[in-house]
Each structure stands twice: as C-alpha cells, then as structure tokens.
Symmetry: C2
Subunit: 335 residues, 2 copies
C-alpha cells in the first residue's frame, strides 16, 4: 500500500471523531471557522473537501496501534493533536500575514483577524476537552499535549523574535524550528501509545522518532523553500528567498564562511532580493555555499535517527512498518 | 474588615502559587509578558506593583473555604481562573485595539500583537496544567474551567459580530455580556468548591451566585460607561457613548420606544457623537429614555438573586458572609 493511500485510510479512521469534536463546539461562528480551517466547508458553511494530509493524527493512531494492535486508543489523541495543529495554523497565519493555505484564503482573510484568533482558541480548548472526555487515558496523555503546545507557542515566539535580529546562528534556527514542527510531531507519534498505557521506554522511543522526523521534515521544507518545484510545492520558486526568511539552509549558507556565503550576506544585507535576477543569484549562492547540501545531509541523518529509535522496539506490524514508511515518505517527498 | 482589605488578603493567599505557576513557563519571553500582564514587572523585566483587584481568584478561594473551612483546595483553581482571565484580557485588548489598561500600555502595545497573542495562549495552557498538577481535584474541576473558557471565547466573538450589526436587541446584548463576564465569574465562584469535592447542589448554587453577580457587575460597568465619574473610573466621562459602544443600557434606551430613545437613534445613526455637546445630549437621552434606570434595576435584581442562591446553603463563616460582602461591593461600587 502506498503511503498516500495509507494516510487516506488513517484519515478516514479519525475523521468521524474529529467531526464530532468540532460539532460539540457550542458557538456557531467558532464551529464555522473550525470547519473552514479543517477544509470541510467554505466561509458560508457549504460543504467542501479541502483538507490536508493529516499526518499528525495518522501518527497518533499508528502509535496506539503499534503497541496494542488496535487504533482505538489513538483516536481521541489523534483528534486532539489535529485540533492543536490547526489552532497553531490559524494563529500563525494571522501573525505571519500569510494569505493563502491549501489554495484557499487563510482563516483570518476569510473571517477577520479577531474571529480567526478566537476560533484557534476554541479549537485549543476543545483539544483538551476531547482528551479529558476519554477518562484515565486522557488524563494520562494530556500533560504531553500541553507540553508540546507550550513548546509550539515558544517556537513561534522565537521565530518572530529571530526575524528582527541581524545575525542568527544555525543552532538557534534549528532549535526554533524544532519547537515549531518537531514538538507536536513528537507528541503525535507517542501520544497514542501513552494513552494506550505503553511502558515509558516505548513512549520515549516513539517520541524520539517523531522529534527527529519533525526536524527532518522541517529541513526538507526549508530546502523546498529555496529550490522546490512550484508545480509540486504550490508556492512560487525560491519562496523563502523572496520572503527574506532566515531558514536553516539559508542561515547555514550565510554563516558558512565561504566566498559564496559572504557574497550572499552582502546581497541580502538591505533586505530580500527584489529582482528576478537577484532571486536567482541568491538561490545559486545558497547552493554554492553548501547550505542546501548541509540541510539535506542533516535531514537524512535525522531520518536515520528516527528510524533507529523505533527499530529496537517490539511493535506490532503493520503499524511499525507503516511508521517507518511514513517517515521515509515525509523526508523524501519531492526531493 | 472592609472588602478592599479582604480582597488584598485573599490576593496574598493566592499570589505565591500564581507566581510559581508563571515561573514554570519555560519560555523567557512568554514569562516576561505574563508577568507584565499580571502587573509584576515592566516590559524590561523590572519589578513593579501594578496588579488588579484579583476578584476571580478571591471568589475561587472563598468557594473552597465556604465548604471546607480552609482555602487550600481553592488555591490552584484560583490560579487557573486568574490565568484564564488574563489570557482573555491579553487577547481582547488586541482585538478591541485597547491601548491602556490599569494606567499602563496594554500587552500588545508593549510587546507587539503576535507576542501578546502567544503569551495569552501560554497562560491559557498553563491554567490547564496548574489544575492537572493537583491530581484528582484538578481533574474534577478542569471541565468547568474549559466550559467557562469556551463561553468566554464565544462571548467575545459575538461582541465583535454585534458591533457590525445595525440593530441589536437588549436580550442579545445581555446574553453576550453574560458570556464575556458572567461565565468566568460563575466558574470562579464555584470551582474551589468543586475541587474540594462539594456536593453538586452546592456547586450549582455557587455557580448561580457567580453568574448573577457577573451580569450585575457588567451592568454596573455599563452604567459607569455612560455616567461614571472619570476620577473614579479612570476613563473619560461617557466613555462608552464616545466609543459608540452598544452596551445594555444604551441598547435599552435605543429600543425603549420612548421619544428620547427615538431621538437617540436619530442622533447616533451615522456613528458615535463627535462634539462635546452631542456627547452630553446622547448621555441625557440615555437617561431620559430610562436606559440607566432599567440597567440599575436589573443589576439590583441580579444581585438579589446572587445573594439568594447562597443564602439557602449551609456554608461556613466567615467565607459565606464574605461572599455576600464581595457581591454587594462589586455591584454597589461607585454608584
């Protein structure tokens, strides 16, 4: 089974519970925006089908299945991580002024900033409620979800603070990106097992798998932000270069100490490149200074660590093999 | 003991736990903003003493004391409701573009919109964590906190949606204001008892006390927004009239069917009054149409209901008498 088909299947396993969780939000407007954010309806409430790949809930379900043989204990945790993920997307889009997501207007563009922030809050609170409603399993897994959410919030805060700084180190960027991406993926990859009552060593190994996978995932995203094919990424070519983003490969290039890195520093010193020629030159310099190669090698190393973390566990198949396949799929997409 | 002294004392009971809860936020920037919002430090981290009256934590502590004779079971709930209250203040100030609170810049003015939103999120998540850390008592009281938070979010959403509408009914305004103020006061007034394991009837009566008190509190706020003494409210005279706010007494005036109400509708049809003469005229018409009298009578009736709800319980003194004294203080301040 291809990973795309697998992800579709796992999405169908979680979807009824995810829909029920949103339907339980009492406020009509908050429900409307949550449904829009999740791709289920347009801004007037008409049904649509515009959801994403739902990787986080897939991992949550598989992490339960890998330790118990059944997805059941992972379903509420899957709903909770997807709600937290979408809470952060709704808020981050406001803060980052992003106007498009999955070929649609972002939440704040469709509903206004305030309503988008409020709907994010409602989804966050709902995530906590969903876990609590499962009793003991929920109480056991809720602290992990809250931890991940605090790290996610902190990662976004540091991302915005780094944007305002003139010089940034690669380690700071990787740590910030770990907060923004790896924390919730680590939580997603272990929370189902945690809810199912798995032993701490297994939960910790699954957490490591998700954490390393998350960093690899972000590094690949960063590479695609420099050299991704617009037809596959749905973004403009060199989108991060145009936006003046200080992603890990770009900072690696800037701080490489190479001639190309120094030329890049000079080129970007007054802000993002404004002509097509300069965009192409900056992209070329990021490549020449080894920034992309470094990020690719890092992503591969992180993927290897992720796979190694779960290889030593005695997990049940096919879930164990599927966790490995998803990791490979995420890191090797479009490269 | 005067109510002001009592509130100060209760604040001191809760403060160490509240400070510890904020210190446990790992992110330095989030901690800084939380401390600013709570009045403990300026935007550079220097210690200040600019906190508010902390009515919600006082009620939470008293609700535990009233059923057990000790404040202890109410302390974590008190911290949690104060964190949720400040989460909502941080976010609402962004949405309402309010630039000053307690004679200081609001959080978003001091730290930027994005950081203020993120710090609000961190305080909300921390509130959940604080309750969970108390084990069974926390698990018992957390659903009540989450319920109140959802209603709070919904109230703010409806407030903003009502602003954009040309005609509004008094009932809609009172319901919206109940969401914005009464839900968290109701939660605060009962959550300590809930955590302490009080019987459902007692918890429900304390909830009713807080809910009615919350509506009365808001109605008094609305009256002061029309005719409050600037020296006591710290706001300009007729501040709600100037801001074009559709508070309960103003909507009651507009929909009164009186000649004064109709003149008011005509006066405000193109927006808030712009001259001092028109501000004075609008204020006069709100009074003449009975809007203020209606709100005052409503506030008195709600206060009576609040007091009646707890009068029938067998609560321990002095907490029971103090709950009554606080209600009277809140509703009869500055009138």
């Amino acid at each position: 089974m291809s990973v795309t088909v697998l992800l579709d299947e796992l999405k169908r396993v979680v979807e009824p519970a995810l829909r029920a969780s949103v339907e339980a939000i009492a406020d009509e407007q908050m429900r409307l925006i949550a449904g829009y954010q999740l791709g289920w309806n347009d801004e007037f409430g008409n049904a649509t089908d515009a959801g994403g790949k739902a990787i986080r809930p897939a991992l949550a379900v598989l992490s339960a299945q890998a330790v118990t043989g059944s997805p059941d204990a992972g379903i509420a945790p899957a709903v909770a991580v997807e709600l937290v993920h979408n809470f952060s997307l709704l808020h981050d889009d406001v803060m980052d002024r992003d106007i498009e997501r999955r070929h649609r207007k972002t939440g704040w563009v469709a509903f206004g900033e305030a309503q988008a922030i409020l709907a994010g809050n409602a989804m966050l609170v709902r995530a906590v409620e969903v876990l609590l409603e499962t009793g003991e399993a929920g109480a056991r897994s809720l602290p992990a979800l809250l931890d991940a959410t605090q790290i996610l919030i902190s990662g976004q805060s540091r991302d915005l603070l780094l944007e305002g700084r003139s010089s940034v180190e690669v380690d700071e960027v990787v740590e910030m990106e770990a907060g923004k991406t790896a924390a919730l993926l680590a939580c997603s990859s272990s929370i189902g097992a945690l809810a199912a009552g798995a032993d701490p060593a297994t939960v910790a190994a699954l957490y490591t798998y998700g954490h390393e996978l998350g960093i690899a995932f972000q590094l690949v995203d960063d590479i695609l932000g420099v050299v991704g094919d617009p037809r596959r990424t749905g973004k403009s070519s060199s989108s991060d270069v145009r936006a003046g983003k200080r992603s890990a490969p770009i900072v690696a290039a800037l701080t490489s100490g190479t001639a190309a890195g120094d030329r890049l520093t000079e080129l970007l010193k007054d802000g993002p490149p404004t002509t097509e020629q300069d965009v192409a030159l900056a992209t070329e310099l990021i490549r020449d200074s080894g920034g992309l190669e470094w990020a690719g090698a890092q992503a591969d190393a992180r993927l290897a660590k992720a796979l190694a973390a779960i290889a030593v566990l005695s997990l049940t198949d096919p879930a164990a093999a599927q966790l490995a396949a998803i990791a490979d799929f995420i890191v090797n997409r479009d490269r």
